[in-house]
């Protein structure tokens, strides 16, 4: 018998020796009984891939939305700060002008009074 023939025969014999065996008609019932005996939380089949994908998408969308809202708030706060700074500068400028006017008025009045006194 050639090696090739021997190999072929051995493979055929292995296929015959390893043909599938049946566990018996009550096997599925055994599986279901063990499923029923398990705690309720494990009885629910795992979520489908589609559901898992949607959950992942929703989670990612929530994170992006959260980051966007936080960014918008930061921008608004910065704008409010800049506006407050502008208003403060404006107020200081106006106050400075008023003080300058008042100072001039006081100086003018003092000068006139001194002239009158010296003239007299």
């Amino acid at each position: 018998m050639s090696d090739e023939r021997t190999n072929h025969d051995l493979e055929q014999s292995l296929r015959a020796a390893l043909r599938p065996a049946d566990p018996g008609a009550d096997f599925p019932a055994g599986v279901l009984a063990r499923l029923a005996a398990e705690p309720a939380r494990t009885l629910r089949p795992a979520r489908s891939l589609a559901t898992a994908s949607w959950l992942t998408f929703a989670l990612a969308a929530s994170v992006v939305l959260g980051l966007f809202i936080a960014h918008e708030r930061q921008v608004r706060r910065t704008e409010q700060g800049l506006e407050a700074r502008r208003q403060l500068i404006q107020a200081l400028r106006v106050t400075g002008e008023k003080l300058e006017l008042a100072s001039r008025a006081v100086n003018t009045t003092e000068h006139s009074t001194d002239s009158l006194h010296s003239g007299a």
Partner: protein, 193 residues
Amino acid sequence: MSGEQAWTEGTLLERAIAGDTAAFAALVRRHQRSVYSLALRMLADRFQAEDLAQEVFLQLFRSIGSVESEAHLAFWLRRVTVNRAIDRLRREPPVTQAALAEADALAAEPVHVDPILERRLRALLRELAPAARAVVLLRYQEDLDPTEIARTLKMSRNTVKSHLQRSLATLRERLGEEDPDGRSWATGERTLT
């Protein structure tokens, strides 16, 4: 024919993913022979094999949402069965000779070729290392090609081919040693060589 028998495996899978226990039971019926036979030939004990096969289907029930298609289901079942069997062989002591004989007696349907040779081949198979045994089972019981076996067992294709060549050589050698008077192990006939 009942409704579930007429359903395609794809439909059964979809229904099982949606939580239909009857559809899941139908999937168990369709795959129980393959899963149980792999477990039986790996563990050589019919009670352990039945227990392991049930555990595989319980795991399937919990993970069924991750199964993408019918082909993926068969792949998933084979991989989980073989991995669980190898884990169990590492954890637990080998079974007794009585259990082996019982497993042999109950292992298969009525034989068509030499029953002594078949029993001997199954016994020799148990002497192979678990990984090599898994490769031979997937090749000759499940009829997978080396590429599919490599994917299932997460091995390289070359490792699979090497396991197959060495296992066949070992089986041939052991059968030859036990039959020095020229009996052909392949056909059950006596030859004059």
